[in-house]
């Protein structure tokens, strides 16, 4: 058995435990947190190279055979998400070292717990275990969100926690309903049971599937469940907001996993339950997110709305449910996660340079380094808006190509293109307000000059984005192969159940 698969869960868990025990020795905390995150990135790269071979690797926890014990499964999608998480985490953590992490005692421990929850959620092959890892990442995110304190964070934090606890209650209802109908929690096994279920069970199984869609829609900030996001993301400290860029993608991941594996094309009565909802919901999310960005009064709120818009784009691609479209959506997901994280970091640099005006889009003193911050903002805005030649443009182009010939092509093309234009308008408006709408200097002493070192984490994320554009062909090929693997889940099921498939048919007979 290959033990590397569990390392992305165990490593942050151990690091977090040590960090809690360390107390408030900041230098040690930084060293351990950073070492663990760098190691996580190395492991994630190794696992991604391994997953690229095209097989699903499984790891049975405690060596219990598949339908009875919990399995971790590494396929291309899981490896892609692990890699994205590690990259965004390293960028955010490096940015946090500029002093933001000193504002609370347990920042580094919570950060590692968050990584553990994220990695576990991406790896697990068990529906209830997915719930548990969701709770791990959520409770860490509750702590991270209020990191630094302040009225705005507590207000946003209370809303965020209550919304997510309600979502968790629904998640439990959905999971136990599906357990009652199929007698299993293992996702691969559940896929077989759903495919073999009779028409009498159809209504309850489909209800369970749609409840899951609602739960994951809350996490992914899908229309109409996104209202918690703008306040939360704009209230969070910059490195936390950047890390949260991957949090909405957990919802996207779960929707993708469940709707291809359990309720995929050959799921019989359970097939394509969520599919008719995804495309329209994705397009409406995209439109509303873009309109919200146009109306944003602070840069961070604007970026938060663009996060929603990017989720809409991805889910529209997933909703088309064809290999090319899902591949394009995955490529766009990698791009948008990095771009949103990057913009949150850049917004923080700008806000610190503007003193009391922070990131409000209004007339204020000029930033101390307009050339450095301006060009960082310009390139990241170009990337996020999807203007050639960067990866946002390539992702959208792939999506538009994939939509060709579909009945919904008109809607996809018009919404995606119109929203790209409006995003560009919103980002240019914000940029000109921040950099050009300058009041004469009025000696505000608390303005911080960003050093080159402060801008390095953002520059590193920008480098990853440029790499994603320069290496577009291999990246898009990987995304396409991931989509192909997702839409043909038989390999996943075989890898998880293996010789136990006959055994699980026997347990099905018992019910």
């Amino acid at each position: 058995m290959n033990h590397w698969i569990i390392v992305p869960v165990v490593l942050p868990a151990l690091a977090a435990t040590v960090l809690v025990l360390l107390g408030d020795r900041l230098a040690w905390q930084r060293a351990i947190g950073l070492a663990a995150t760098v190691a996580l990135l190395a492991v994630a790269i190794g696992l991604a190279l391994r997953a690229n071979a095209g097989d699903c690797w499984t790891y049975a926890l405690g060596d219990w055979p598949a339908p009875f014990g919990i399995v971790l499964v590494l396929d291309r999608l899981a490896a892609l998400m692990l890699l994205l998480t590690a990259i965004v985490a390293l960028g955010s953590l490096l940015h946090a070292l500029n002093g933001c992490d000193a504002r609370g005692r347990y920042f580094h421990a919570l950060f590692q717990f968050q990584l553990m929850g994220l990695d576990g959620a991406f790896l697990t092959g068990d529906l209830f275990n997915l719930f548990v890892f969701f709770e791990v990442l959520l409770i860490a995110s509750y702590g991270l969100l209020v990191h630094g304190g302040g009225a705005e964070r507590f207000r946003a934090g209370a809303h965020y926690v209550v919304v997510n606890l309600t979502g968790s209650a629904l998640f439990l209802v959905a999971v136990s309903l599906l357990y009652a109908m199929t007698g299993t929690l293992n996702m691969a096994d559940m896929a077989l049971k759903v495919a073999g279920a009779g028409a009498a069970d159809a209504a309850l199984i489909r209800a369970g599937a749609l409840l899951l869609l609602v739960v994951f829609g809350v996490k992914a900030a899908l229309v109409p469940l996104y209202f918690w996001l703008p306040a939360t993301y704009s209230a969070a400290a910059a490195p936390v907001a950047a890390l949260f860029a991957i949090m909405t993608k957990v919802g996207v991941y779960a929707i993708l996993r469940v709707s291809t594996l359990i309720f995929g094309a050959d799921a019989g009565i359970g097939s394509a339950v969520a599919q008719p909802w995804l495309l329209p919901a994705g397009l409406v999310t995209l439109a509303l997110g873009t309109l919200g960005a146009l109306a944003g009064r602070t840069l961070r709120r604007l970026i938060a709305y663009l996060t929603i818009a990017s989720v809409g784009t991805i889910l529209a691609g997933v909703g088309l449910f064809r290999e090319a479209a899902v591949g394009a959506a995955l490529y766009y997901m990698a791009h948008s996660t990095l771009a949103v994280a990057l913009l949150f970091l850049v917004a923080d640099l700008i806000a610190r340079g503007r003193g009391a005006a922070a990131d409000r889009l209004e007339r204020a003193a000029a930033v101390p380094q307009p050339a450095l911050l301006g060009s960082l903002y310009f390139v990241s805005a170009v990337a996020l808006a999807g203007v050639p030649p960067l990866s946002g443009y390539l992702g959208k182009l792939l999506l538009l190509q994939a939509a060709q010939g579909e009945a919904a092509a008109v809607w996809v093309w018009s919404t995606v293109l119109a929203c790209a234009l409006l995003t560009l308008v919103a980002l240019s408006r914000a940029g000109s307000a921040l950099f050009w709408h300058v009041a004469p200097m009025e000696g505000s002493p608390q303005r911080g000059r960003a050093t080159i070192a402060d801008a390095l984490p953002a520059a590193a994320l920008l480098g990853c984005l440029l790499g994603l554009a320069a290496g577009a062909q291999p990246a898009a090929r990987y995304a396409r192969a991931t989509a192909e693997q997702l839409l043909h889940p038989a390999g996943y099921v075989r890898a998880v159940l293996g010789g136990a498939a006959g055994l699980s048919a026997e347990t099905a007979g018992r019910r």
């Binding site: 209830f128 548990v132 709770e135 409770i139 509750y142 209020v146 304190g149 302040g150 009225a151 507590f154 207000r155 934090g157 209370a158 809303h159 926690v161 209550v162 606890l165 309600t166 968790s168 209650a169 439990l172 209802v173 999971v175 136990s176 309903l177 357990y179 009652a180 929690l185």
Partner: protein, 117 residues
């Protein structure tokens, strides 16, 4: 039995949702608690209601209760308990920071009428 359990869950959910929609944080926390009780009962019932049957293998017994939902309920109770503790602390801190226990942090403009609570 089925009717009793089902209506019990229904009443708990209804009360929980009602409290969840209140404007003060304390009823909201209570609402979340009721909701998690309802969900725990629901998970338990999803293993089928089998009174008086053992969940683990025993000699000379033919009918069994499903042990898995009982384990799931245990996990859900632990997580729900931790979350309730956290949300209670968060509500207290938010009240300190915002000067009000309104969920939107709106300061109390006028002294509250006693019947509003």
């Amino acid at each position: 039995m089925e009717l009793l359990v089902a209506s019990g869950i229904g009443v708990l959910v209804a009360s929980g949702v009602y409290l969840l929609l209140r404007s003060r944080t304390f009823p909201v926390v209570l609402g979340l608690t009721l909701l998690s009780y309802a969900v725990n009962l629901f998970i338990f019932a999803m293993g089928r209601l089998a009174p008086g049957k053992p969940p683990i293998l025993a000699p000379g017994v033919t009918g069994y209760a499903d042990p898995l939902p009982q384990a799931l309920v245990l996990t859900a109770i632990v997580i729900g308990f931790g979350m309730t503790a956290f949300v209670a602390v968060l509500a207290v801190r938010a009240r300190d920071a915002l000067g009000s226990d309104h969920v939107d942090g709106v300061p109390d403009a006028a002294p509250e009428r006693p019947e509003a609570r």
